[in-house]
């Protein structure tokens, strides 16, 4: 066991835990944001640098601070380690730089993008970025590649987090999807434009933190904040069948996996559930999905309206018939 202090809050975690996992155990207030790390995918993390933290005390035995900021998703905790995340001005500054780099080539076409409203890059740049860019160069563009009927690839929006490649490696069998070229020229592609026809290939949509991989069956149907998510399940031979249905009126516009508080899917779902079952009759609806009230998805939904007690009881207390006659 190792005792680690993150932003002044101490927790005891098993050896081999990363700083990020320890921070998530403490709570969302101190957990660093992540763009490439995905707890459900092995070997993910270490690409995007958004989870940088400052280690002000290495360990009990060697209390020297670490010379540079470290990626918390790839650094294991040591006993007595002290970490600064939100309390460290260095980290805030570095994260601002990271966001600027991530947005260097990002087209910022949020008004068109289907991911807008549930995009991690939007959240990240809103919280940690600056509202101006300093680059004078043209943004990178790509030739459009059609990767199949169900999934839409927008390479310009990609931040090269490799999550979808890990999904292709670990969840599906026989990888038909990967990163070609190197460095600045890297791009996500299927080899020789092969259609992604594996049963679980649709999960690349859910793991994509930006709008690079989106659902083609949902393309431009609605903005996410006009749709209402409900929890539903069905008996599926291939997957758990536990999903979120996104309703607009009576119509199911989109089916996605259920996401936890870190924006990661709880269970990967199969393509049949995701793309082919878009009738309410296919599903057993459990109830509305709890949406954070600060999320734009909960905008204009009034399901938790609570009437003030004072108003209800004292001001408009209805009179009984006898009282009414007396008055």
């Amino acid at each position: 066991m190792a005792k680690v202090t993150i932003d002044g809050r101490t927790i005891e975690v098993p050896d081999g835990t990363t700083i990020l996992q320890a921070a998530r155990m403490i709570g969302p207030e101190v957990a660093p944001p992540t763009m490439c790390y995905y707890s459900k995918l092995k070997t993910s993390g270490g690409y995007c640098r958004t989870c940088l933290v400052e280690v002000t005390k290495g360990s009990e035995k060697d209390p020297r601070p670490m010379p540079k900021l470290v990626a918390s998703c790839r650094t294991n905790v040591m006993d007595g380690m002290e970490v600064g995340n939100v309390t460290s001005p260095k980290v805030t500054e570095a994260r601002k730089g990271v966001v600027e780099f991530l947005l260097l080539n990002h087209p910022l076409d949020c008004p068109i993008c289907d991911q807008a409203g549930e995009c991690h890059l939007q959240d990240l740049s809103y919280e940690h970025g600056s509202s101006k860019t300093r680059t004078d160069f043209e943004r990178r563009t790509f030739e459009k590649i059609d990767i199949g009927e169900k999934i839409q690839l927008h390479m310009t929006r990609c931040i090269l987090c490799y999550r979808c490649v890990k999904v292709a490696n670990q969840i599906t069998d026989g990888r038909v999807h990967g990163v070609i070229n190197r460095g600045d020229h890297s791009e996500i592609s299927t080899y020789v434009q092969q259609a992604v026809d594996n049963d679980f290939s649709g999960n690349v949509i859910d793991v994509c933190p930006v709008g690079a991989l989106t659902d083609k069956t949902f393309r431009f149907k609605s903005r996410v904040w006009f749709t209402k998510p409900v929890n539903a399940h069905r008996n599926c031979e291939k997957c758990s069948g536990k999903v979120n249905l996104w309703y607009k009126g009576e119509e199911v516009l989109r089916v996605t996996g259920r996401k936890d508080q870190w924006g990661e899917v709880e269970e990967f779902i199969c393509n049949t559930c995701r793309f082919d079952k878009k009738n309410t009759s296919d599903w057993t609806v459990e109830g509305p999905t709890a949406v954070n009230r600060h999320s734009v998805i909960s905008a204009n939904h009034y399901e938790v309206f609570k009437q003030p007690t004072e108003f209800k009881l004292n001001v408009v207390k209805p009179l009984s018939i006898e009282e009414g006659e007396q008055a």
Binding site: P111, A116, F226, A299, N300
Partner: protein, 176 residues
């Protein structure tokens, strides 16, 4: 029953001889009338003479086109989500090949409706718009006979290519 202690007992004393003549009262009244005849009039003869609007006046909306005549709106839905009266609805569609001269971006509003009876002319849609597409202008919403006619679609809202709507005054008044 006395409700308050603020009531006063009013008496009507007998009028004096001069008051009974009524003439001083008539003349003082006429004096006021004649004085107003030469004053500046408070009203305008409306259809012929029109009052200038304040530059920040918020009247009927317009959906702008860019210099090349393409629609600016991409149906991002920010106006609708910012609308406190929930007056705006829209449907998006994907731009097809050959429609590049009609719509500026990949996605456009196939249907865009504002319920003018719901609208409170707060201008939040204009503030939310990231594409400079919607503006409130100094035009007055035309009157209609039925409620249904107040749901303005793209035919009423999008500016015509030949007759552009000037919104430069509103842009100058932007403060951030």
């Amino acid at each position: 029953m006395q409700l308050t202690n603020r009531s006063k007992v009013v008496t009507q004393p007998e009028m004096t001889w001069v008051e009974k003549l009524y003439l001083p009262a008539i003349f003082s009244g006429l004096q006021i009338t004649i004085k107003h005849l030469f004053r500046k009039k408070a009203t305008l003869k409306y259809p012929e003479v029109q009052k200038a609007f304040a530059p920040v006046y918020r009247g009927m909306h317009v959906l702008k086109r860019d210099e090349q005549g393409r629609e600016n709106c991409t149906a991002c839905g920010l106006c609708a989500v910012s609308c406190p009266a929930e007056a705006i609805t829209m449907d998006a569609a994907e731009r097809k090949k050959g429609e590049e001269h009609l719509y500026r971006e990949e996605k456009y509003a196939a249907k865009y409706e504002i319920n003018m009876l719901r609208c409170i002319y707060c201008g939040l849609c204009e503030e939310a718009c990231p594409k400079d597409a919607i503006y409130l202008t100094d035009r007055i919403v035309p009157s209609e006979y039925t409620r249904g006619e107040f749901v303005f679609g793209k035919d009423m809202l999008v500016e015509k290519i030949e007759e552009r709507v000037d919104i430069s005054k509103r842009q100058k008044n932007y403060t951030i």
